[in-house]
Every structure is written in structure tokens, then in C-alpha cells.
């Protein structure tokens, strides 16, 4: 804490950025940017005002969600979402373990490291929807495109965090295993794996939760899941069905989060 004493000897809060020139440049930069950005916004307020009525209807629809009139569509969509989530998470974990091992600088040689990091970067940079659009064009409509999309997205997430975890492991434990004359395989299973396993399981549970959330939108581009049902409901302005689907998604995500919280707490 710098006690910036002014002439009146009054204490003032120390500023967050010490360099005053830098501070003013940043503030002005932000202001100019905001002015430019708002300048390029063209909001049709009349349309927004008209829409408020419909928005209110949507909020009212949350009070009386309609689970029944499209029951079979909702059940089909939800099962497909769940199935895509489970398979893609499993497949994603299986693929991301070798890639995560390869992307850890302390156990992988440089060429392998670069290739694996490249795969992770591509998977992380492209949004699931973009991947899904391309894969639907390649594989055709249906849950298979969604399954591949989610598996691919899982790799970027899980392999990156796993690699960072492996890089953070305690060297001495791995060293001790190596000193017993263990092969590379034994070294990884007994020296590295026990150190990263609890977090890997936690992350996998978290990814299961994310994959379910993402599977809800893949249907918009024809890659299967509840998203298609939701999109149809919006297109037909059936807000009561849409709100029922949204409530179901929220409840399932909450349950998954609660479950993964319990599992992670038990592991640590």
C-alpha cells in the first residue's frame, strides 16, 4: 500500500495501475472503443418494443411449462442428447489421454509435443457449432455427426488440462519409480497416473456436464439431440414447450453438477 500523501495530507486509495500515463491511455482507449462500438450498433427500438410483449409471454410460459403435448418429441430428443453425451465423453476421454500424455513437455519429446499441442489448439479454437456444420456436411444428418463433434471438442478441453496436470506432477515420485528400473509404461502407470487420476476423473465429470449442455444446441445444425426439438418449438412460437425443454435442461445440468461435486469431493 503506497500512502500517497497529498498536500492536504489526506489518504487516498492507491490506484490500480501505478503508471498514470498508462492509466489515462487505457481509460481513454476504452472510452473511444465504447463510443465506436455503440456507434456501429443499430438497434431497432421499435422492433424491440414490439417484442417485449412476446418476451413477457415467454416469461409467463415458464410459469406453466407444457411437458405433455410434445411428450414423445421431447423424450426422443432428450434420450438422443443423453446418448450422444455418454458416448462422446467416453470416446473423448479415451483419445485425450494419449494426446494429453503427448502434450506434456516433461514426458514427451518435442515433435510429439508440438503435434499434440497443435491438435489441442485447433480443437479449442473452433466452436462446436462450426465443427458440427462441417461434419454434418460430411457425415450427413443425425447423431453420428454430433457424437464426432463432441468427442473432438472433449479432446481439446481434457487433453489440455490433463497435460497441464502432468506437467505439474511431483517429479520425485516419478523419479523413484524410474529408479526401480521400471519401463516407460510402468513409469507412467505407477509414477504419473496416480498423481493425475483424481483430477482426471473430476474433469471428465465436468466435461460430461458440458457435453450435455452442448448437445442441446447441436440439433440446430442437424447434428441430433434435443436442440432440433427446441428450435422447432421456437420457430412455431410454442413457448410453453420451449420453456419445458429449457427447464429440463437446467434441472439435468444441476443434477449432473451436484453429482460431479459429490464424486470430486469423495476423490479428494
Amino acid at each position: 500500500m503506497s500512502t500517497s500523501m497529498t498536500a492536504s495530507r489526506k489518504w487516498r486509495k492507491p490506484p490500480m495501475i501505478k503508471n498514470s500515463l498508462m492509466r489515462w491511455v487505457l481509460i481513454f482507449g476504452c472510452l473511444i472503443y465504447l463510443a465506436l462500438a455503440f456507434g456501429s450498433f443499430d438497434v431497432k427500438w421499435a422492433r424491440v418494443y414490439e417484442g417485449l410483449d412476446r418476451g413477457w409471454q415467454f416469461i409467463l410460459a415458464f410459469a406453466k411449462p407444457d411437458f405433455l403435448s410434445r411428450k414423445s418429441d421431447i423424450i426422443d430428443g432428450m434420450t438422443e442428447s443423453a446418448i450422444m453425451t455418454i458416448t462422446s465423453t467416453a470416446c473423448g476421454i479415451l483419445i485425450s489421454i494419449p494426446i494429453g500424455l503427448g502434450a506434456a513437455r516433461n514426458i514427451a519429446p518435442l515433435p510429439v509435443y508440438l503435434v499434440c499441442r497443435g491438435i489441442i489448439a485447433i480443437s479449442r479454437a473452433l466452436h462446436e457449432i462450426i465443427v458440427a456444420i462441417i461434419l454434418v456436411a460430411i457425415f450427413g444428418f443425425g447423431p453420428f455427426a454430433g457424437f464426432v463433434t463432441l468427442s473432438f471438442a472433449t479432446i481439446g478441453f481434457l487433453a489440455k488440462l490433463l497435460a497441464e496436470d502432468i506437467e505439474d506432477t511431483d517429479r520425485s515420485q516419478a523419479e523413484a519409480i524410474k529408479a526401480t528400473g521400471a519401463s516407460w509404461w510402468q513409469w507412467v502407470t505407477y509414477g504419473i497416473q496416480p498423481q493425475v487420476m483424481p483430477r482426471l476423473i473430476g474433469l471428465s465429470m465436468y466435461r460430461l456436464d458440458i457435453n450435455f449442455r452442448e448437445s442441446a444446441i447441436l440439433g440446430l445444425v442437424g447434428a441430433g439431440g434435443i436442440g432440433a426439438t427446441l428450435n422447432t418449438a421456437f420457430d412455431r412460437y410454442e413457448f410453453d414447450t420451449a420453456s419445458a425443454i429449457i427447464i429440463m435442461i437446467i434441472v439435468i445440468v444441476m443434477l449432473l453438477e451436484y453429482l460431479s461435486g459429490i464424486i470430486r469431493a469423495r476423490l479428494q
Binding site: I86, I130, V221, N231
Partner: protein, 272 residues
């Protein structure tokens, strides 16, 4: 750690004892069964002919997409600018809403445990579980297509994320500093301003930059449902099968996301 006994009744070290091992096998068995069942369902819903044909199709599309149509980039600057604006202003809006919600949700600052904390947690969970694309879909239906719907969608989706991380940061603060400010006779607001805010400022900055980076990625696809940004061009190009344009747009998105990730990593490294 356990000991197992082999045929010659000699003790051998084993990683797990028998019961743990059996339980593990059982869990694996159930997991594999469930996954195989799910896989079978997907397999039935798939036209395998298309999948087997996929390498050829992929090669075909790839061949058409290369080389990217570079002159088209002049039409992409405006959508790109819109995309960045959606992400940035959406993040700013969400932070404005997330801060009070985070203070209401944190155990140590909430005004009331039931009437403030639970509604705040409900807002956090419900905004977090719904993808920004669904919010965009909804807002496009309500307030019409355009950047505004996209910005609000990004803002709503980010509230839960930012508020959750922020309230966890508030719960982890050092209570001694708060106590010290309280001991000077500070009011409730002064305690927040001088005792809590300086402690959470670094994580606040980190969270906002982190979310901004995620939002750039999310806003690239909002156009797909009509909520403005570069996704609009992407959808238009895919709908008319203009693959050279698609590949250029993908390159631009890739560059924008990588750049924003680098900026965010730099800023976070500088803060922490």
C-alpha cells in the same frame, strides 16, 4: 496398498486388495455396457454408407475449399468488428449484472441467506446451464434479429459464469482485512469498498478477460441463428455451398480466437 498371495503361498505386493479390485471391475463392466448400448443406438440412427463415404466427401469439400477466396475478406471486416463488439459489450453488460449477484450469492456478504442467496444462486445456475446460442435463438424470436440480440444473449449467458467465479473469490477472501476495516467504524458499503473489493480485484480482472476470450469464440457462431456477427456470413456461404468463402471465414475466425486467447493469457499473466 495390499498384499496378494500367489500359488506358492508367497506374498506379493499388489496395488489394490481383492474387494476393491472386484468393485472396480464391476464399475468398469457397468460403464462399458452402458456405453456400448448407447453406441448401438447411435449406430442404428446412422446411415453407415455416408460415413464410409466420408473420406471421399471430405476430400472433395477440402478440394473445393482450397484456395480460400482472399478478395472476399473485404466483406468480412464489418462482421468481424460486430463479432468483437458483441463479445466485448456483452461481457461488460454481464459484469455489471454479475457483480451485485455475486455479492448476494457469497455466504459472507449476502444480505439475507434465504431471500437473497437462493434467488442469486438460481439466477447463476439457470443462466449458466443454457447455451448462448439458445439464448440468442430466444432473443431473436423476441426482439428481432441483429447485433442487439446477440449482445444480450452473450451477456445473459456470461452472468452465471462470472457471478459463480466471483462469488467463490469473495468467499475465499481474508476476513482479517475486513475485520480491520470494520474496527475503524466503517459502514457496510465502506467495508465492501475498502475491505473486500481490493482483495477480489485481481480475480475480477482475470475472470472478465477469461470470459471475454470465451465470448469471442461464442459470438462467432451467434450469426447462425440470426444474432449478428461473422456467423451470418458463414451460414450464408455454407447455404450456397461457397466453400472457398467458408474456408476464408474459418481462417479469420481461427485467427481472431487465437489472438484473443493470446491477449487474455498475457493480461492474466500480468495480473496474477
Amino acid at each position: 496398498m495390499a498384499i496378494s498371495i500367489d500359488k506358492n503361498s508367497q506374498k506379493i505386493w499388489a496395488v489394490r486388495d481383492r474387494n476393491t479390485q472386484l468393485t472396480r471391475w464391476f464399475v468398469y463392466f457397468v460403464a462399458v455396457t452402458v456405453i456400448m448400448y448407447c453406441w448401438q443406438t447411435i449406430s442404428e440412427a446412422t446411415t453407415w454408407f455416408f460415413v464410409l463415404d466420408a473420406p471421399r466427401i471430405a476430400g472433395d469439400i477440402g478440394g473445393r475449399a482450397m484456395p480460400p477466396k482472399w478478395p472476399y475478406i473485404n466483406e468480412l471486416w464489418k462482421p468481424l468488428w460486430d463479432t468483437i463488439n458483441i463479445a466485448t459489450i456483452g461481457t461488460v453488460l454481464s459484469l455489471i449484472i454479475a457483480v451485485p449477484i455475486a455479492f448476494m450469492a457469497a455466504r459472507n456478504t449476502t444480505p439475507h441467506h434465504i431471500f437473497c442467496r437462493w434467488p442469486a444462486l438460481l439466477i447463476i445456475v439457470s443462466t449458466r446451464s443454457i447455451n448462448s446460442l439458445i439464448w440468442a435463438l430466444l432473443l431473436v424470436a423476441i426482439i428481432g434479429p441483429g447485433i442487439f440480440a446477440g449482445t444480450i444473449a452473450i451477456a445473459v449467458r456470461s452472468i452465471g459464469f462470472c457471478a459463480k467465479l466471483l462469488y467463490e473469490a469473495i468467499e475465499e477472501i481474508d476476513e482479517k482485512q475486513v475485520e480491520a476495516i470494520k474496527a475503524t467504524g466503517a459502514s457496510r458499503w465502506q467495508v465492501i469498498a475498502y475491505g473486500i473489493v481490493p482483495q477480489i480485484m485481481p480475480s475480477f480482472a482475470g475472470i472478465s478477460v477469461f470470459r471475454w476470450d470465451i465470448n469471442i469464440r461464442e459470438s462467432t457462431v451467434l450469426g447462425y441463428v440470426g444474432a449478428g456477427g461473422i456467423g451470418l456470413q458463414l451460414k450464408a456461404s455454407i447455404d450456397v455451398l461457397a466453400w472457398p468463402q467458408v474456408s476464408l471465414i474459418l481462417l479469420v475466425i481461427f485467427a481472431a480466437v487465437i489472438l484473443s486467447e493470446m491477449v487474455s493469457a498475457k493480461v492474466r499473466a500480468a495480473i496474477i
